[in-house]
């Protein structure tokens, strides 16, 4: 990098995309869509032992307008699906979605008429977490996968 030496101390050159993605990936604020027992593990994920703050995701936002990642934690009924989709539609772009646990991913043990067999029936899910419920490490893993995904996205430069 020859340019830095010409610019002097305190400057660096990078791509705008890389800079924006770096900022976004380290400030992915979750929207906790806690529907069942997975929500308890989600609290542990945010708490001091597992500490989602290390990844910039400690701010659980209960307002969809301030959130970036929706964590659907728990089984979702057909009646609830309309509320979830409405909250998802209110989240500003760019946004990502984690289906946490067996129930949110596939319906899990709730194989019946009232439960949606996987929230990907009405939400664009980016990361699925297995487990019933998953350990908080698994949620962190999904969050890191989302961070990896954000870092490969084209934020400013159009993909032409």
């Amino acid at each position: 990098m020859g340019l830095e030496s010409a610019l002097g101390n305190g400057f660096l050159t990078t791509k705008m995309d890389t800079l924006v993605n770096w900022a976004r990936s380290n400030a992915a604020w979750p929207m906790p869509m806690g529907l069942a027992c997975c929500a308890i593990e989600m609290m542990a994920f945010a708490g001091p032992r597992y500490d989602a703050a290390r990844f910039g995701s400690e701010v659980m936002r209960f307002s969809p307008r301030q959130a970036d990642v929706m964590i659907v934690a728990g089984w979702c009924t057909y009646k609830m699906s309309h509320a979830i989709r409405r909250i998802w539609d209110q989240m500003p772009d760019p946004k990502w979605c984690i289906a946490m646990g067996a129930c949110a991913s596939t319906g899990g043990m709730h194989r019946c008429y009232g439960v949606v067999q996987g929230v990907d029936n009405f939400l664009p899910v980016d990361a699925y977490i297995s487990g019933c419920p998953p350990r908080p490490d698994a949620v962190l893993h999904a969050l890191m996968k989302i961070q990896d995904k954000i870092k490969t996205e084209h934020s400013v430069m159009l993909d032409s």
Binding site: Y78, R85, R111, C112, Y113, F122, L123
Partner: protein, 170 residues
């Protein structure tokens, strides 16, 4: 069949067989609980008597059973508790598959309202003179009764709508 009834339960059974001998079908015990089956026509009189004369002031629960028989297919069970005598009885009535209908007991126990709505929601048993007989869990435009035996486990595809996956603005 011999019954081992505690004193308050014996009093209940005696009082019912004295006053409603014609509508009393069967009294039996199972797993330590006492079940009294009566004719559906006399449901209101019997429940009124149970509450006013025998102090069954607390209606714990109402639930339905799909017996899946050709006659008297549906059964509704009233779980009654006497706080004064510390006694619990289960009162059973049956109704037919075609237009299953029973008298509502909301006039006796106000708490029956939501319980009867649940039985209606799941089994399609109608309750006459219920103040607000709507579905309680499922969407109001749902056409089926999911706890009936013929209802498939995973439901009828497309019978409950999923949200649109395109936002309203687009």
């Amino acid at each position: 069949m011999s019954l081992e009834l505690s004193e308050p339960l014996q009093k209940t059974v005696d009082s019912l067989s004295e006053n409603f001998s014609e509508s009393l079908i069967k009294v039996y015990q199972s797993s330590g609980d006492t079940f009294i089956q009566i004719e559906a026509d006399s449901l209101l009189e019997v429940t009124r008597h149970l509450k006013d004369k025998l102090h069954y002031v607390y209606l714990s629960d109402i639930f339905g059973i799909d017996r899946y028989t050709s006659e008297e297919r549906f059964e509704v069970v009233y779980n009654l508790l006497s706080l004064k005598d510390r006694a619990r009885v289960f009162l059973k009535v049956r109704c037919e598959e075609e237009n299953p209908e029973l008298e509502s007991v909301v006039s006796i126990w106000k708490s029956a309202g939501w319980n009867e709505r649940e039985v209606y929601d799941m089994f399609g048993v109608h309750f006459r003179n219920h103040p607000d007989l709507r579905r309680i869990f499922l969407p109001e435009d749902f056409e089926y009764f999911p706890l009936r035996k013929e209802f498939p486990l995973l439901g009828i595809p497309g019978s409950i709508e999923l949200p649109s996956t395109t936002p309203e603005s687009e």
